[in-house]
C-alpha cells in the first residue's frame, strides 16, 4: 500500500482522510490535513517533545509515528479542551504559575503531563511527573515555573 484512507477520532471528533501516503507522520496529518496547529514541530527526530499527542491516552511523539500505524485510534491534542478534564486541569496549573514564555514548547509539556496523570491517576508521584516531562525541551528555559505547575497539580490532586 503506497497510501490510503485513514480514520481517527481526534479530540472526540471522527476525522477521515483519503489517500494519506504510507510515510506520512501523525504530526503532519494533524497540522496540515486537520488544521490542528497546536501540536508543534521542534526537532522532528524525537528529541524535543514539542509534537507530543495522546494516542489512546498514551503520550506519543507524533513526529516519529506513521499515521497509518494509529489508524482507527483515539488521538488527543492540546486542542482537546473540555473533552479532557485532566488536560484542562494541567493547562490551568500552567496558566496559574505562568509556566510559559514564548509558548512553543507548552502544548508538548501539557499533553505529556496529561498523559501521565491519566495513566497513573492519584498514584502519580512528583518524580514520575517530572520524569514524564524529561523528554520535553523548553528553549526559553522556563523549567522552574513548569516545576511549580507540577507542584500545584500535586497539591490539588483530586
Amino acid at each position: 500500500m503506497t497510501g490510503g484512507p485513514i480514520a481517527l477520532r481526534v479530540n472526540g471528533v471522527e476525522r477521515r482522510a483519503s489517500d494519506v501516503p504510507a510515510s506520512e507522520r501523525l504530526l503532519d496529518t494533524l497540522r496540515w490535513r486537520f488544521d490542528l496547529k497546536g501540536t508543534k514541530e521542534g526537532c522532528r527526530t524525537g528529541g524535543c517533545g514539542a509534537c507530543t499527542v495522546l494516542v489512546d491516552g498514551e503520550s506519543t511523539l507524533s513526529c516519529l509515528t506513521l499515521t497509518h500505524e494509529v489508524d482507527g485510534r483515539a488521538v488527543a491534542t492540546i486542542e482537546a479542551g473540555g473533552e479532557s478534564p485532566t488536560m484542562e486541569r494541567v493547562r490551568a496549573a500552567f496558566v496559574a504559575e505562568g509556566a510559559l514564555q514564548c509558548g512553543y514548547c507548552t502544548p508538548g509539556f501539557v499533553v505529556a503531563l496529561t498523559g501521565l496523570l491519566e495513566e497513573r491517576g492519584r498514584a502519580a508521584s512528583r518524580d514520575e511527573m517530572l520524569e514524564a516531562l524529561a523528554g520535553n525541551l523548553c528553549r526559553c528555559t522556563g523549567y522552574a515555573a513548569i516545576g511549580r505547575a507540577v507542584e500545584r497539580l500535586r497539591a490539588e490532586a483530586p
Binding site: G46, S59, H68
Partner: protein, 283 residues
Amino acid sequence: MVEFDLVAPRSADEAFAALRAAAPDGAAVLAGGTDLLPDVDEGRQRPRVVVSLRHLPWRTLDWAGPSLTIGSTLPLRALEQDPDLVRRFPGLAEAIRDVGSVALRHRATLGGNVVRAAPTSDLVPVLLALDAEVEIVGPRGTRRLPVDRFVRASRRVDLGPEELVRAVWFPEARPSAYRWQRVRPANDISQVAVAAACSPADRRWRIAVGGVAPRPVRIPSAAEALGAGAPTAAAVARAARAAADAVAFPTDRRASADYRRHLVATLVERVVDAVVRAEGFPR
C-alpha cells in the same frame, strides 16, 4: 518526504512473504519506528516496503518459573510498569527507564532495540548480564541465539532477510542493576554504562559495559574478580580495575578514553553495590 509502501501482515507467515516479495534489500521492519523512521529520514535505510509488526500477537509477557519471555513488540513502557518485572529484574527495569523519554517508550520496543544493536544501547548490556537469548522466527522455523552471539556491531545482527525476532527470553530472574554517566538524563547517550547481575543459581556475577564500539561487551575478568555471592571491598576494587583495563575505550566528542576508564571503574563499584542490595541477592 521519503516515500515507501507500508504493509501490516496479520500473521508471521504473511510477514515472511512480504519480506520475500521485497527482497533483496527492499524491505525494512517497523516495530515502534523510533530507530527506523530517523534512519529513513536521514537516508541510512531506503526501504521500498516497510513491514509493520503492529498486528502480530507478540505484545506478550510470559513467566515460567524463574524465566521470563518478553514479546518483541511490547512497548518498553509496559515493561517498566509491570511490578513483577521491576521486582525480579530490577536491572532491566532501570535500563528501560533510561531509554529516551516516557513518550518514546510508549512506542519503542525491546525487539527494535536489540536488532538496532547500537553500541550505545541501554538495553544490550543488561541483556548480556542476564544471559538473555533472542527467539528468531523465519520461513524455515524457529531458532534461538544468545544475545552475545546475535549482536555483532551497530545495525549488524545474526538475522536472515526473511527472519524476525519474536521474543527475548531470560533464563532466570536475577538481582541486577544498571548505571551510566551522561550529560542529560533523558534523550541522551551514555559516555559509558555498566550492567551487572548475580545469579541466584550459581552465585556467579556477569558484568557488561555499554557505550563502546563496535558493541556492548561482557567483561569476564571483572565478573571473575568478584568471586561468588557478596564480594569483599578488595574484590570490588579488582573488578573495577579489570573493567577499566579490559576495554579499549575511544576518545570522541562525548568523552576522552581516560575519562571513560575512570568512569567505568566508578560505575562498576556503584552497580555492584546496587546488586548486593537487591531483593533475593544470594549470600
